[in-house]
Symmetry: C2
Subunit: 190 residues, 2 copies
């Protein structure tokens, strides 16, 4: 039953660098775009707790055993709080797919990380170990990486929850919610 497939989209709120924490929102969506549950947590700006906080948020969810896949907007939350995608996938027993509209420039990122974090190598290796590949959409392509599923399955899952534009609905909704809580109103590019 395709209609029963649930995908959890995750995104963070905008933040200012003097903020200690940023809000992180999860939107549980039934294929293709029926919002079924919303969840929240917070993570430390530029911290190292993103993976742990996401595991905790999903683990306490009533839908934890029904999550068919987790989709993240990029690989880092709240600045450079990099998510260990493989670790998240192992803990949640579900494929984890990152999606991003713009292909990141790894060399620039390396320089930024090295300039700011004593543990830059760990952060950079989490980022650079993943291979981003394009998924074509009606709109521009979206770049994704998948852990815990074949590439073909990941592409199918992303397409199942993409309604307009390039961004999968669970991630787009999580983004709209998280931004609105901080900014007062949000509206998405699609």
């Amino acid at each position: 039953m395709k209609a029963q497939i649930r995908v959890l989209g995750i995104d963070d709120s905008p933040f200012k660098f003097r903020d200690e924490k940023a809000l992180v929102v999860g939107a549980m969506v039934r294929v293709p775009n029926y919002l079924e549950s919303v969840m929240r947590t917070d993570v430390t700006v530029d911290g190292t707790d993103a993976t742990e906080k996401l595991i905790e948020m999903v683990s306490r969810s009533r839908y934890r055993d029904q999550v068919k896949a987790v989709m993240l907007d990029g690989i880092a939350l709240a600045g450079f709080n990099v998510v260990d995608i493989k670790g998240l996938c192992d803990e949640l027993h579900a494929p984890v797919i990152t999606v991003t509209r713009d292909k990141p420039n790894l060399e620039k990122m390396k320089t930024a990380l090295r300039g700011h974090f004593p543990d830059w190598q760990r952060r950079y290796s989490l980022i650079s170990s993943l291979e981003l590949r394009p998924i074509t959409t009606e709109h521009k392509p979206i770049y994704a990486c998948a852990v815990g599923s074949s590439w073909g399955e990941a592409v199918e899952l992303v397409r199942m929850v993409t309604v307009r534009g390039a961004v999968p609905e669970p991630v787009r909704m999580a983004h709209l919610i998280a931004s609105a809580m901080v900014r007062g109103e949000s509206y998405g590019r699609s």
Copy 2:
């Protein structure tokens, strides 16, 4: 173009009576259930600022001129912060429709208001001036009142944004978002 019709659903978060404010969320939905924008404000628990705060929230929205109708979960936010539905409709130049799953008991409400608020008559007259009528759905009926549109138009608008169960999507989504922000996770009855 039906697909371009936008309905704003509004609901409040759960709160404790010692809280001064409750979160209020607006979910702007394109027919039937495409979430386009999220907005927020807060209102005083048992206060009298709900109407003013809603006008302000909608007025600063990028979509203010595209709102075809506003749907509220009931007529009061944050306890007994009663919304002046007619005033809201006049200010926003859009029909305002309240929906509620259970028909309220006006006599009980009158007693409660009288026991708690020196201005109970004003609050009660805002509530009792509106006539709730049932709209049949696949599920149970939902009770609604409409200001600024004919009853027939209101029924059509409610049905246009009802996907599953009895609650219109804009209100259901606003509810899921507002509760999750306070409770950590939300999941709706439908």
